[in-house]
């Protein structure tokens, strides 16, 4: 699965994109797997209320299923306009 990071999430983790082998059923499960990987992931995902997630380029929430998902992106609340 392709996992993308934007803004300070990208900076904290230190890369914009990676491919991860996972059987995570939900976004929350994927987050748990990532947090267990390394300290920098633990730091980036320490406060989920400060994060937003998109699955296959649609905004969703952390309970969302990853069944059939190809791309997951994590980022802070958006500041467009």
């Amino acid at each position: 699965m392709n996992v993308l990071y934007f803004a300070w999430v990208r900076e904290r983790i230190g890369l914009p994109k990676e491919t991860i082998e996972t059987n995570a059923a939900t976004v929350a499960d994927l987050v748990s797997e990532l947090r267990a990987k390394e300290e920098r992931y633990e730091m980036a995902f320490s406060d989920l209320s400060a994060l937003r997630v998109a699955v296959d380029q649609e905004l969703t929430d952390f309970d969302a299923s990853l069944d059939g998902a190809r791309e997951v992106a994590f980022f802070p609340p958006m500041t467009g306009g």
Binding site: L4, F6, A7, Q57, F75, P76, M78, T79, G80, G81
Partner: protein
Amino acid sequence: MRVVVQDQPFDFGAEAEAFASGRHDMGAVVTFTGIVRDFGGGGLDAMEIEHYPGMTQKALKKIAGEAVDRWSLGDALVIHRFGRMEPGEKIMMVATAAPHRKDAFEAAEYLMDYLKSRAPFWKKEHAASGDTDWVAAKDEDEDALTRW
């Protein structure tokens, strides 16, 4: 309906003129443009805008499409830049065309409210001092969506 995401500057006057021209059934055109604002005393060197290629265009089309449907707009335009911009540069613009002004104004405000919180853009300030800071989303921007 037209949605443009680009790093290059756009010509606000030419875009507004082109958007407003040749309409015989639309009595009102509203335009808004957002500009990089210095936070006083030349403290801001530049604003850098990151986005999510692939999702950005889709998210903007969805937001613009909802505005067109809800206010029965004749047309809508969204242009949003990414990359590095200096104070005074235009970041983005929206334009709406409707038979009457109330719908055109409301739809433009709706577009702006949703663009701020639901389109995947992130602003980073580069201060003249060399410090950089990701702009935090404001609670009031999220609250603004509840009125729709």
